[in-house]
């Protein structure tokens, strides 16, 4: 029986998205992610009264801070990175719910102290034994914390484990981590974050495809010439050299965000919007992806150049990067999805740091009109129809269509029909972390990655990286502030196509 059938007073009130009482323990509380994303997201949720009344946060890290020092730092973070105006009352509520615990993750005694503090908070704040553990920690610390938390999980209440990317380094390490986690937690308790899935416009891709009858009939190889996905950043390694040297563009962006965007673009309609149905369809796409060989993968590393008119160093000159680093800061690839819908339709994807502009775009290029009844001269400025999904910035959708140029004769030009998210709906789109934190507290896994999904992603990455061991490209091969190495252009040119112009 549904909730409304049981309680007639709930009819018309809509679902309530406030989680049940719980305590959130953030491992890695002294890190950048906690400061820039997690706390500002918690503050925004508190502003909207979306956190439960009985709520507690415990920041866990090695730094020797007191509760008050931690609160003070988080207050600064909320003031600096929050999207809402600072409200003393809201902050006081959140601050009162916040504790800090200094411990070494490998220290058994320290982990016992955390368990004791959480139990104490159950009494003090009424969190009822419900726990959310947020692991915002480096990959090398993951196993230690999973084990420590798993061994101490209580019998009372529910438990959820949020795991930040990267989930492993390759297929073998991802499987090992999954195996370790599964010793203590069920798959329903594990929430692997890919924050791209929390973005409104990424979710809008599902609405665009499956709520509009006009797109799905033409969303296939018969009507689509190819798909281009761009995830471009203007930032460099930004003090994350230690991590980035291990990851490179392929593990930092391609393995997770990029493949998620491919999956959402290519997936079949799920039977419903439950976590299992959506993830089942995404996994089918990931299983069907293959690259046509090393010639169709381009990697690059940026040299010095200009961003926003300012001179910026090359990757090898960045702090903490070895001067002979062979880590790629750019990857472009041609992928195929081997199924009835997409056979022989290329998906060109590219991601990189220090590119000309920050943007994430999915471009669906349709086949040209088979026989336009116009003179060649009339159509020379005409491009094929293209549907552009702007994930960031300027979130929205554009459709390039042909239109007659006003005046005598028949001249055609391509014009854009734009839908801008901020123009049609409330402008303050929630941050991805707000949505994901709330979903995890509510136990909704739809926007989180399942273990088999992660493994399929790693299998694709492993197949690409295996070929890289055999050659040594000449790095750097593109200047900061450009659209990447010449090889990426060549990748498209060989197929008679070109990357989207910006």
């Amino acid at each position: 029986m549904t909730e409304v059938a049981e309680n007639p007073l709930l009819a018309g009130l809509g679902p309530r998205r406030t989680p049940s009482p719980c305590a959130l323990a953030v491992f890695g509380a002294s890190g950048d992610l906690t400061r820039r994303k997690i706390f500002p997201a918690l503050y925004s949720l508190a502003c909207r009264r979306l956190l439960p009344e009985q709520f507690a946060i415990v920041g866990v890290a090695r730094r020797d801070w007191t509760d008050d020092e931690f609160r003070e730092r988080m207050e600064h973070a909320v003031r600096e990175f929050g999207r809402d105006d600072f409200d003393e009352g809201v902050w006081e509520w959140l601050s009162n719910a916040t504790r800090y615990l200094s411990l070494d993750f490998a220290d058994e005694e320290g982990e016992d102290r955390l368990a004791a503090l959480l139990t104490e908070l159950d009494e003090e704040r009424g969190t009822r034994g419900n726990r959310v553990y947020y692991l915002a920690i480096p990959p090398q610390a993951m196993a230690t914390v999973v084990e420590a938390v798993g061994k101490r999980r209580g019998a009372e209440g529910w438990t959820r484990l949020i795991v930040e990317k990267p989930f492993g380094q390759d297929l073998a390490s991802a499987r090992a981590l999954t195996e370790l986690i599964s010793r203590y937690f069920t798959e329903e308790e594990v929430f692997r974050i890919d924050h791209y899935l929390g973005k409104e416009t990424v979710q809008n891709m599902l609405a665009l495809r499956f709520a509009n009858g006009i797109f799905e009939p033409i969303w296939n190889r018969q009507f689509i010439d190819h798909v281009q996905i761009t995830v471009a950043e203007t930032l460099g390694s930004e003090g994350r050299a230690e991590y980035y040297e291990q990851a490179g563009a392929i593990r930092d962006i391609f393995q997770n965000h990029m493949l998620q965007l491919v999956a959402l673009t290519a997936m079949e309609p799920p039977i419903d919007f439950t976590a299992e149905s959506v993830r089942n369809e995404k996994v089918k796409v990931l299983k069907a992806i293959h690259t046509p060989g090393p010639k169709h993968i381009v990697r690059g590393q940026y040299g010095p150049g200009y961003i926003d008119g300012k001179e910026v160093p090359g990757y090898r000159q960045e702090e903490g990067v070895p001067p002979d680093s062979m880590t790629e800061s750019y990857v472009a690839a041609k992928l195929f999805v081997d199924n009835w819908r997409w056979a022989d339709t290329p998906f060109y994807v590219r991601t990189g740091k220090r590119l000309a502009r920050r943007e994430t775009t999915i471009a669906i290029q349709f086949q040209r009109a088979p026989h336009p009844p116009f003179e060649d001269a009339a159509t020379e400025e005409l491009k094929p129809n293209r549907l552009l999904v702007h994930v960031q910035p300027d979130e929205g959708v554009s459709l390039a269509i042909a239109a007659k140029v006003p005046g005598q004769g028949m001249r055609l030009r391509t014009v854009n029909m734009d839908f801008i998210y901020g123009g049609a709906f409330r402008t303050d789109l929630p941050e991805a972390y707000e949505r994901l934190l709330l979903d995890a507290m509510l136990g909704d896994q739809t926007l989180f990655t399942r273990s088999d999904e992660v493994e399929e992603q790693w299998a694709i990455v492993d197949s690409i990286v295996a070929a890289w061991k055999r050659d040594r490209p000449s790095f750097p091969n593109y200047a900061a502030g450009t659209w990447g190495p010449a090889g990426a252009k060549e990748l498209m040119r060989r197929d008679g196509r070109e990357w989207l112009k910006h």
């Binding site: 007073l9 709930l10 018309g12 009130l13 502003c47 300027d394 801008i420 049609a424 409330r426």
Partner: protein, 295 residues
């Protein structure tokens, strides 16, 4: 979009026709997009009509200002002045909100029409040419609803949703009986009803203990809110519930059969927030309609 428009273009005309207003719209939109990469985007989700008698003018303009960023569609404010000489005066504004990087603007259009004399009697013929084609039309009617008057009949005929605030009515109990007659003609929203939502949710939290409720005691709030809350409870529970109400300001407390209902912890909403929430609703609200019938 940022909080303020980068530029606002205005056109003012006296004794105009709807065709003059349409032409003016094109002109000011064109002017506002000078200097950007392309024409301003008019991302339209609806036409928002507002019927604003003189005493509500200031409040309506304030509410509209708070709405622009959330619903930057075409807003048409109608100011009736039945005692004046026949004619229509207009002010057309295009507010251009910059998108990230300032390369494009999203345009919000506001048309203010003062309907003088006999023009008050035929508002539908004036606004119909100005509606955005094929998009829903929301009509916010400020103040008392003049049931049976031609202006109300006509405007209900062009709108998909009528938005009222029964807190603005002197005798809500009497007006609810007449309001029922509009339910078959258009979807109706009531901002007073929206204000009761946190309390409805709090009362729903008492289920099943509340199933046999006999008395609802409300301290504070308007008569409209109290009537809607008790009407809702009566219609949902299918039983008689007595109302005891002391009117004043906001609702301070609610008790069922002498037991206090926990105070709801929800965001305080501004008048723009409340109207904005109503503008997001498109279908008929049958729960509200039943509450009105039982109020």
């Amino acid at each position: 979009m940022s909080a303020a428009p980068v530029q606002a273009e205005d056109w003012v005309g006296e004794d105009v026709t709807p065709a003059d207003v349409e032409r003016a719209l094109w002109q000011v939109r064109d002017a506002s997009s000078q200097g950007t990469e392309g024409p301003d985007l008019r991302t339209s989700v609806m036409t928002h009509l507002a019927w604003v008698p003189a005493e509500w003018r200031e409040a309506a303009v304030d509410t509209l200002a708070g709405l622009r960023e959330r619903h930057p569609s075409r807003g048409i404010l109608l100011f009736p002045e039945p005692a004046a000489v026949d004619g229509i005066d207009a002010r057309v504004s295009v507010l251009a909100f910059p998108q990230e990087g300032g390369r494009r603007h999203v345009a919000a259009e506001v048309i203010q029409l003062t309907l003088r004399g006999q023009r008050v009697k035929a508002p539908a013929s004036i606004v119909t040419p100005l509606l955005v084609t094929d998009l829903p039309v929301f009509l916010r009617w400020r103040g008392e609803l003049p049931f049976g008057a031609p202006e109300l009949e006509q405007m209900v005929g062009v709108c998909d949703r009528l938005v009222v605030d029964s807190r603005e009515w002197k005798d809500p109990a009497g007006a609810y009986r007449e309001l029922e007659s509009l339910f078959e003609q258009t979807a109706v929203s009531d901002i007073a009803w929206r204000c009761t939502r946190p309390w409805r949710r709090a009362l729903a939290g008492l289920w099943p203990g509340i199933a046999e409720a006999g008395e609802l005691r409300i301290t504070g709030g308007s008569s409209a809110e109290a009537l809607l809350l008790v009407g809702w409870l009566r219609s949902r529970l299918g039983r008689t519930v007595e109302l005891v109400h002391e009117a004043s300001g906001q609702i301070e407390s609610v008790a069922v059969d002498g037991t206090a209902v926990p105070f709801p912890r929800e965001e305080t909403a501004s008048s723009s927030d409340l109207l904005s929430a109503e503008l997001d609703e498109l279908s008929r609200d049958e729960i509200y309609e039943e509450a009105v019938r039982a109020a």
